[in-house]
């Protein structure tokens, strides 16, 4: 340890106290959704966290049509919040009277890879919606207009971000995630006034994440609310991210 002479720290205000805390942000769990089929397909959001909770993914199966050559058409449409994939099987008109369809297992492959081995699938995905989730499940049951898969919708749920872990509880007794990128920190005691608050990200890789004070109720509840942002967008730091937090509080109204 440093064996040197250090000087007393001073301030013009009376009863100024420095409080420190060190937190590790919580892990994120991806939202999932289940398409209710003969053998269900489980969709998992690529983005972890609770952003996709309540968003939907719907399968529509159109009547087989005279698609070019041996193609099956797959169109991803809608928005990230409400994705629809429309499958149009091939009725064989332009394929030597050989119809071509997809099974539910092949729909899984299509969602994951954008293609199906041994099938010629023409994918239209102008908004890049397909890659927002991965899929598992399905079986050899063919998709069918007014049958298997047609009109089946799944709603994403159970995406979550855990509360941060408080590594140094002298400063904060707890930190709870209120919503995306917003955290409520509770101190062990109340103080008369918050005089400053700062946060510094500690991470071995570069990250564009800053910490900003949202509100404080130091005197009445011993709490502060802070946010983590990139630019002006709220973000949840990854679970490997730590933050060093410092508050300067006044313990008197004198």
């Amino acid at each position: 340890m440093a064996n040197r002479n250090f000087q007393t720290r001073q301030a013009l205000e009376k009863e100024m106290k420095d409080l420190y805390s060190n937190i590790t942000f919580g892990a994120s769990t991806a939202a999932t959704a289940t398409l209710d089929l003969t053998e269900d397909i489980v969709l998992t959001s690529v983005a972890a966290g609770d952003d996709r909770n309540d968003e939907t993914f719907t399968v529509q199966v159109a009547a087989a049509a005279d698609n070019p050559t041996d193609t099956v058409l797959a169109v991803f449409s809608g928005t990230a919040a409400a994705i629809t994939v429309t499958i149009t099987p091939n009725d064989g008109t332009n394929n030597s009277a050989t119809p071509v369809n997809l099974t539910t297992a092949e729909l899984v492959e299509l969602i994951n890879d954008g293609s199906v081995t041994g099938k010629n699938v023409t994918v239209t995905d102008t908004s890049s919606l397909r890659a927002l989730q991965t899929a598992t499940g399905g079986d050899t049951t063919p998709l069918a207009d007014s049958g298997e898969g047609d009109g089946v919708a799944a709603t994403f749920a159970n995406g979550a971000v855990a509360d941060p872990t408080v590594n140094d509880d002298l400063g904060f007794s707890s930190v709870a995630r209120s919503s995306k990128g917003v955290f409520l920190a509770t101190l062990p005691e109340k103080y008369n006034k918050l005089r400053s608050f700062s946060g510094m990200i500690l991470l071995s890789t570069v990250t564009d994440t800053k910490i900003q004070l949202v509100s404080e109720a130091m005197a009445t509840a011993g709490t502060i609310t802070f946010r983590t942002i990139t630019g002006t967008t709220l973000v949840d730091p990854s679970s490997s991210t730590k933050a060093l937090l410092k508050m300067e509080v006044r313990n008197s109204s004198v």
């Binding site: 340890m1 440093a2 064996n3 040197r4 250090f6 007393t8 720290r9 001073q10 301030a11 013009l12 205000e13 009376k14 009863e15 100024m16 106290k17 420095d18 409080l19 420190y20 060190n22 002298l170 400063g171 700062s198 510094m200 990200i201 500690l202 991470l203 071995s204 570069v206 990250t207 564009d208 800053k210 990139t230 060093l244 937090l245 410092k246």
Partner: protein
């Protein structure tokens, strides 16, 4: 100088020490420590673009409680500082990034930065 009554600041933690240092940046982010404004700091090195290691004179066994830096520059510059690693308890080193967005970036030639480290000098709570 200010001729006023100042009051002692306190912390819940024992043995919290403030270390200040001042760095001027040259071409390609080459750092120069201002020795007279950097008591307790031995050296600073540029490891890579926008990435620096500061070596302290001493080890601080309780680690870094807080770190902050601010750029002092007459011209606007989109730079902020991020702590990369804390090894003041073992190797006396502090690593930090200078970032523009999510890119480690060298501060401009001629800019100056003021830094503050708050360190705990023991492991006793």
């Amino acid at each position: 100088m200010a001729n006023r009554n100042f009051n002692r600041k306190q912390a819940l933690e024992k043995e919290v020490k403030d270390i200040y240092f001042k760095v001027s940046f040259g071409a390609t982010g080459a750092p120069t420590l201002s020795a007279s404004d950097s008591l307790g700091v031995a050296s600073i090195e540029r490891d890579a673009q926008g990435t620096y290691t500061v070596t302290l004179d001493d080890k601080y066994h309780g680690g870094i409680k807080f770190f902050d830096g601010v750029l002092l520059d007459a011209a606007a510059e989109d730079i902020y500082f991020q702590l990369k690693a804390d090894s003041v308890a073992s190797s006396k080193e502090v690593e930090f990034f200078c970032n523009t967005g999510a890119t480690a970036t060298d501060p401009s030639d001629g800019s100056v930065a003021l830094f503050k480290l708050e360190l705990k000098n023991n492991t006793i709570r």
